[in-house]
Symmetry: C2
Subunit: 181 residues, 2 copies
């Protein structure tokens, strides 16, 4: 489907509750396990979602409005979540993510974007010209890529436990890993 | 990690609320879109989860207890969800999934499995001997494979909308599709 701003907002507004329902008070065997050296746990991913709320979506939308194509977005710091997660619990991260998402959806609403604003152009540091519409669609798809990643990381904790069923579980065959945005 | 029955139950008990938070009242552009001909929408996947609750996990656990390796499980009917979804809304499917899951966790509890029961052996129609432990771990991993699938199906609806960001979104590169259980 084409990008539809109300659909994007509908998804963005649901992700914090969906992650909360899945991850809050879940045993740490699920949430702190990763996929091997230099990979993330579900806990790390929630930290990354917090960091992206702080530095990526609304700041970039404002850059599109203010500078258009003349100035490239700041590069996203893929390790930037590390200070977010230090000494915190999953419950605290989930609360923080929900609070930031709610604030950012408020900011988005306050930008009062008209249909024609979705065609405004900005500049991505790696691949050049992008549109406001693409940026906002990516905000929603980024939630989905990390929900996809969390389910894959957690399934990996049972890779041996499922025995021969591993052949039938697509999540255990997934090689669709994300790069920085 | 090794299979841990309380961890399995913790995950199984959270999935209905997580799917509800994500999918309830979400625009149909997200929930009825699929990945092309002969593929499932998120709506179909919730129907499949209902069908699996009805025919797969607890019935198979009871077969392990009653027949051990002497009798193979019924094959799972991958099209069996079609009568579940006919004429129903996403909200109805989510309610039905939550109700069945809760009943089945009650049945699991009533089986009162001891640690040594997890080593009991049953027979899968395709790959032969499996254990009770593998069956129950697969129940949880099956939730995760379908959460992984739902996030991939929904992200696919924005494949074009994200423009050049598609290169960075792992969910759009995923080829980890599931086979019947």
């Amino acid at each position: 489907m084409e990008h539809n701003l109300p659909h994007t907002i509908a998804l963005l507004s649901r992700t914090p509750a969906a992650l909360g329902a899945l991850l809050r008070d879940l045993p740490e065997g699920w949430t702190l396990g990763n996929e091997g050296e230099n990979t993330w746990s579900a806990f790390d991913v929630v930290g990354h979602l917090i960091h992206a709320e702080q530095t990526e979506w609304i700041p970039r939308a404002k850059m599109v409005l203010q500078f258009g194509e003349t100035r490239a977005f700041e590069s996203f710091d893929r390790g930037g979540h590390e200070r977010e997660i230090q000494g915190r619990s999953m419950g605290q991260l989930l609360d923080e993510f929900a609070r930031l998402r709610s604030e950012n959806l408020g900011e988005l609403s306050a930008l009062n974007l008209r249909q024609e604003d979705l065609d405004l152009r900005g500049r991505h540091p790696a691949f050049g010209v992008v549109t406001m519409s693409q940026l906002l669609a990516t905000w929603a798809a980024h939630d989905l890529t990390h929900l996809h990643q969390i389910s894959r990381i957690m399934a990996n904790q049972y890779r041996e436990a499922v025995g021969p069923w591993s052949a039938y579980l697509g999540v255990l065959q997934c090689a669709g890993h994300s790069a920085p945005q």
